[in-house]
């Protein structure tokens, strides 16, 4: 807590200090946070390594994933080049555009894996616009709340809720509950970090607890109910709904502390683990590298999260803080939900394991988020607060 307060003092005093390291100034110039980059590269490398085994050495898939990661890193750097104040200015515009694209998807979207959330425009790779909302929503909320007195009052909370739930509702209409949930959570994170009063927080939790049985009884679709029932008792349908979770638990458990060794995961190589290179890749990792491997992964994630938190705390203004904090927490939620689901701690929700699972749009989206973090980190030192 010392450094940021110190820097705040420096900024406030409007006195220029020389940078302590030349190296640091280099990173400042290229607008890349070396610590975050190192963590991300380590995660990407580990991810490719696991994916190579999960796909049974399918070089095409691994190469494509590496390419996607390269694109993501590039996009991250591009995003980081723009001053965070630029994003702040453009936040409302981007939000409106994003909403209209979501509306467009509902009309001309393409369905993949049951969710009509893909846009397949000629000349562009197909992508999921809803993914982008995971940081467009916090960006708008940060823009909205940062300029208002915090903690937010009821009116601001109400509008923040509207700004969050409207796109989330559109995504629900696309039949993509997972993304809608993440988008909602990214908005809620902004509110929480902005100091949403605890009574609102507890009221919200209480409302959710009360509403969930109603949701289960009246709104939940059969497959969702099934997932929840399966969560409580995977063996009620061991070859059907419970199959995934049973097999992934067998894979994880049989990995033990040290794992079966790279490429020796019988569960994954004999195709007992479904979605072994997307949502359930953690099972492959845990089977082959054991508890140690999972600890390494958690450590890498924790490293990235701590860096994100550090960036959030060190941001020069509330917009940057809220955005960085929300991006970091959304990233955590993402990976936690996946790991908890694969290990049987949560019901099955179709979310990939960030940077490890195979995926296109999702990976690039993640890097946009990290680009924003880097923008916040590398531009805040140069800019005086507004």
């Amino acid at each position: 807590m010392k450094a940021p307060s110190n820097r705040d003092f420096v900024r406030q005093s409007n006195v220029s200090f020389s940078q302590p390291h030349r190296l640091r100034s280099f990173w400042q110039v290229v607008h890349v946070d070396p610590i975050l980059l190192a963590g991300l590269l380590a995660l990407c490398g580990f991810g490719l390594f696991v994916l190579n085994s999960a796909t049974a050495g399918d070089t095409e898939v691994v190469t494509r994933q590496a390419g996607t990661m390269g694109i993501g890193l590039f996009v991250m750097c591009v995003v980081a080049q723009f001053d965070i104040q630029f994003y702040r200015r453009w936040a409302p515009t981007v939000y409106v555009v994003a909403l209209s694209i979501l509306g467009l998807v509902l009309v001309i979207g393409v369905e993949k894996n049951g969710a009509k959330s893909w846009l397949d425009l000629p000349g562009l790779p197909s992508f999921q616009p809803s993914e982008l909302l995971k940081f467009i929503v916090p960006m708008l909320l940060a823009w909205y709340l940062a300029s208002r007195a915090l903690p937010p009052n009821l009116k601001h909370v109400f509008w923040a809720g509207v700004f969050t739930l409207f796109p989330a509702a559109l995504i629900v209409l696309q039949n993509d509950m997972g993304t809608a949930l993440m988008v909602t959570m990214s908005g809620i994170f902004v509110l929480l970090l902005a100091g949403l009063r605890w009574r609102f927080v507890f009221a919200g939790i209480a409302a959710a607890v009360i509403a969930s049985p109603a949701w289960y009884l009246f709104l939940a679709q059969p497959h969702q109910k099934n997932r929840i029932l399966t969560f409580f008792d995977p063996y009620r349908d061991p070859t059907g709904a419970g199959y995934n979770i049973i097999q992934s638990q067998i894979a994880i458990g049989s990995g033990g502390v040290y794992g079966k060794g790279y490429g020796n995961g019988a569960q994954s190589h004999l195709d007992f683990i479904p979605e072994s290179n997307t949502d359930f890749i953690l099972a492959v990792l845990a089977e082959e590298f054991g508890l140690i491997g999972v600890l390494v992964l958690i450590t890498l994630y924790l490293f990235v999260i701590m860096r994100g938190a550090r960036i959030a705390l060190g941001a020069s203004d509330m917009f940057g803080r809220l955005l960085a904090g929300s991006i970091t927490l959304t990233f955590f939620l993402y990976l936690f939900v996946n790991m908890a689901m694969v290990s049987g701690l949560l019901p099955v929700i179709g979310l990939p394991l960030p940077l490890i699972s195979r995926g296109g749009t999702a990976v690039v989206t993640l890097f946009i988020g990290f680009g924003l973090l880097m923008s916040i980190q590398t531009h805040s030192a140069n800019k005086s607060p507004r």
Binding site: M1, D8, R148, A149, L150, P151, P152, N153, L154, F189, L192, L193, A194, G195, R197, T239, G240, Q247, Q249, I250, A251, I252, G253, S254, G255, G256, V257, A266, Q267, L270, D271, F272, A286, E287, G290, L291, V294, L295, I298, L302, I305, A309, A312, L313, M318, R321, L322, G325, L329, F332, F336, M339, A340, S343, G344, L345, P385
Partner: protein, 684 residues
């Protein structure tokens, strides 16, 4: 929040944010800790459980069924082979919706409701999890292709090659060799635990004949393998393997060629032929007609085929006539006669006066000789034992039998296997009846009457014998008393098979060896004694055998018989399709061995022929025996009797002084023909 006057306090907001970040970090750490605890629970606490679950997922111990031993005839011809077929199998655990899968399959291939029924029956049986259960046997190439193309829609369904029994000779050996068919629940339950284990990979078991008798030798020992299977049940690797031990190859005494000859000789008639090698007891032929195609049973006989086989009450193709008892009729006469000689109730020269009937002292009832029913009239006149045999005189045996008494008959004939199963490996053969006082008292609760003895002495009444027993007794007679027990199995994997005889039987002891010669002479006369001027002085089978084949190069000892049909099932009598008069006809019997009276060559074959409702033993059953003996001696053993330095006159020496020449004289022919037409074919 508290009012419009509130100003932004940046430092306070920053601190608020920092506090919230601390809370968030705490939540993050808490959630990671929960996750770690869950993982430790899975990977450390429950490691052993999940490790074995993972192995259980991928490792499957499966049985490797042994190849069933082949069955060869004595000449090395294959009687039971193993042929590869392709079966449609189901791993139930891999199929989500069995009904939908079966429906889809039935749209692709021919799938009878019967197949499905049997499949569901198999599903209920005790089985190894993830084992494949046959749904349909013998897929055609086209069906294989259709299933393969749709494999992605049919998880758990696979096409598996399997070796199954095939009987190249079709119905020729159906009863003797038997057949295999699917093991049923009762058979499995009857097994001891280790045997059931041994049948883990086996679908078939011998049901009848050799296949059943020597099931243990033929089956072999099951092998095991541990395989790694993937999610779809495909075998990815074989990790361990204990090879199965194939079943033993069996060589029988049976000669496929004789089976064919016997079958052809029987023609369209129902009947049975059993041939035994008197030197070894080896069963050379064992035919029951009509037969059936044993191949039908191997992969599950259809209901239609099965009901066709079991509803044929007249032909009863599944019924093995070789081991079913019938009245032996006159074929027992040589044995009764020998008993009479041995026990002093008659001798070689004793002559009786045959008026055509026999009457007990003080009883008015007359037991007629068959000749009573002829146009010429009854009686043989002066008749000694020899003539009584070759002319099949009933009166002589009524008298002899009456004087011997049932106790002597019972004990003497018992030595030849009547009333018992003498076989070493035809356990399913019936024993027939060799009546005795005790037997009648036990089964009928009646005392033995003298009339019963009289009926028994011509092989009627209570006396019942199977064709197999008749062949056995004939073989013992051919051996001059040396008992050989009939057996099917000659060699196991090429090594001669020495059966264990748990109930050894003493040879038939005849005090005066000349009595053997005398009986053989009498039986040879049955076949070879020609027509002559003397009234009723020819062998009953002369016309059908020796006269029909004037080139016959060896002597045959034989005896014909015509058994009265005792009963016909009521439902058959009422059937309109069958000419009941046919079913009332006598059964024709003939027993023979050859060569007889040969100075250097012992008898090589003993035969019993039974023709259901065949009427005349000599003319109907005789030629069948002749065909079988010819084929064995001349074709299979290839004995060249003509080139053997033997004096044909010496062979006929027994006939000296009794018009030895064959009747070529037209005048004599007239008389003999009259004899033949009016008598010789009526009774034997």
């Amino acid at each position: 929040m508290e009012g419009k006057w509130q100003l932004k306090d940046r430092e306070a907001e920053r601190r608020l944010f920092a506090r919230r970040m601390v809370v968030a970090s705490a939540v993050v750490v808490f959630l990671f800790a929960a996750l770690l605890l869950k993982l430790i629970n899975l990977q450390v606490t429950q490691y052993d459980y999940f490790a074995s679950r993972a192995d259980g997922n991928r490792l499957h111990s499966q049985y490797v069924p042994p190849a069933r031993g082949l069955i060869f005839d004595h000449s090395g011809e294959l009687l039971a082979d193993n042929q590869p077929i392709f079966n449609l199998s189901v791993v139930r655990e891999r199929v989500d919706d069995i009904d939908a899968t079966l429906e889809l399959l039935s749209s692709l291939i021919r799938l009878e409701s019967e197949d499905v029924e049997q499949f569901r029956e198999r599903l209920k049986r005790r089985r190894v999890p993830f084992s494949s259960i046959p749904l349909r046997y013998v897929l055609t190439e086209q069906e294989k292709a259709r299933v393969s193309v749709n494999a992605h829609r049919l998880p758990g369904i696979s096409i598996e090659p399997q070796f199954v029994r095939s009987y190249p000779a079709g119905d020729l050996n159906a009863h003797a060799v038997g057949y295999v068919s699917e093991i049923n629940r009762e058979e499995l339950d009857a097994f001891a635990e280790d045997v059931r284990e041994n049948y883990g990979g086996t679908n078939h078991i011998g049901k009848t004949g050799i296949e059943r008798t020597y099931e243990e030798l033929l089956h072999g020992e099951v092998g095991y393998e541990v395989v790694e299977k993937n999610n779809r049940g495909q075998v990815m690797r074989r990790l361990e393997r204990t090879d199965p031990i194939a079943g033993k190859n069996l060589t029988l005494f049976l000669e496929n060629r004789l089976q064919l000859i016997a079958t052809e000789a029987l023609g369209e008639q129902r009947g049975a032929v059993v041939a035994i090698d008197p030197n070894t007891g080896g069963i050379l032929a064992m035919v029951s007609k009509p037969g059936f195609d044993p191949n039908l049973f191997v992969t599950g006989i259809s209901n239609a085929d099965y009901s066709r086989l079991i509803t044929d009450n007249v032909n009863t193709p599944l019924f093995d006539r070789t081991v079913n008892p019938y009245p032996p009729a006159s074929t027992v006469k040589p044995f009764i006669g020998l008993g009479g000689l041995q026990h002093g109730f008659t001798d070689q020269d004793t002559v009786i006066q045959d008026p055509g009937y026999f009457r007990l002292p003080g009883v008015r009832y007359r037991w007629g000789d068959y000749t009573l029913r002829t146009a010429i009239g009854g009686g043989h006149g002066e008749t000694n034992l020899q003539r009584a045999i070759f002319q099949s005189c009933d009166t002589f045996f009524y008298d002899l039998g009456y004087r011997m008494g049932i106790d002597t008959i019972h004990s003497f004939l018992g030595q030849f296997g009547f009333g018992q199963n003498f076989t070493l490996d035809v356990g399913y053969a019936r024993t027939g009846v060799l009546p005795s006082r005790e037997w009648k008292q036990a089964t009928r609760n009646e005392p033995w009457y003298p009339g019963d003895t009289i009926n028994s002495s011509i092989g009627q009444g209570y006396m019942w014998a199977t064709p197999l027993q008749l062949a056995t007794a004939t073989a013992i007679a051919a051996n001059k008393g040396v008992v050989v027990k009939p057996r099917m199995l000659a060699a196991v994997d090429g090594e001669p098979f020495e059966p264990q005889d748990l109930n050894p039987v003493a040879d038939v002891q005849i005090d005066n060896p000349d009595n053997w010669r005398y009986i053989e002479e009498s039986m040879t006369m049955v076949v070879h004694r020609p027509y002559s001027q003397v009234f009723r002085d020819y062998g009953t089978a002369y016309e059908a055998i020796a006269r029909a084949d004037r080139e016959m190069s060896y002597k045959m000892a034989g005896k014909s018989g015509s058994a009265q049909v005792v009963s016909i099932a009521q439902d058959i009598l009422q059937s309109e399709d069958i000419d009941v008069s046919d079913l009332n006809k006598d059964h024709a019997l003939f027993v023979a061995y050859a060569p007889a009276q040969h100075p250097t060559i012992k008898p090589q074959i003993a035969v019993a022929v039974f023709v259901e409702n065949g009427q005349h033993g000599s003319s109907v059953a005789g030629p069948v025996a002749k065909a079988v003996i010819d084929a064995y001696l001349l074709d299979i053993l290839q004995i060249d009797f003509t080139s053997l330095a033997t004096d044909p006159d010496a062979l006929l020496s027994f006939d000296a002084g009794r018009a030895p020449q064959q009747s070529t004289d037209p005048a004599a022919g007239f008389l003999t023909l009259a004899n033949a037409e009016h008598e010789g074919h009526v009774h034997d």
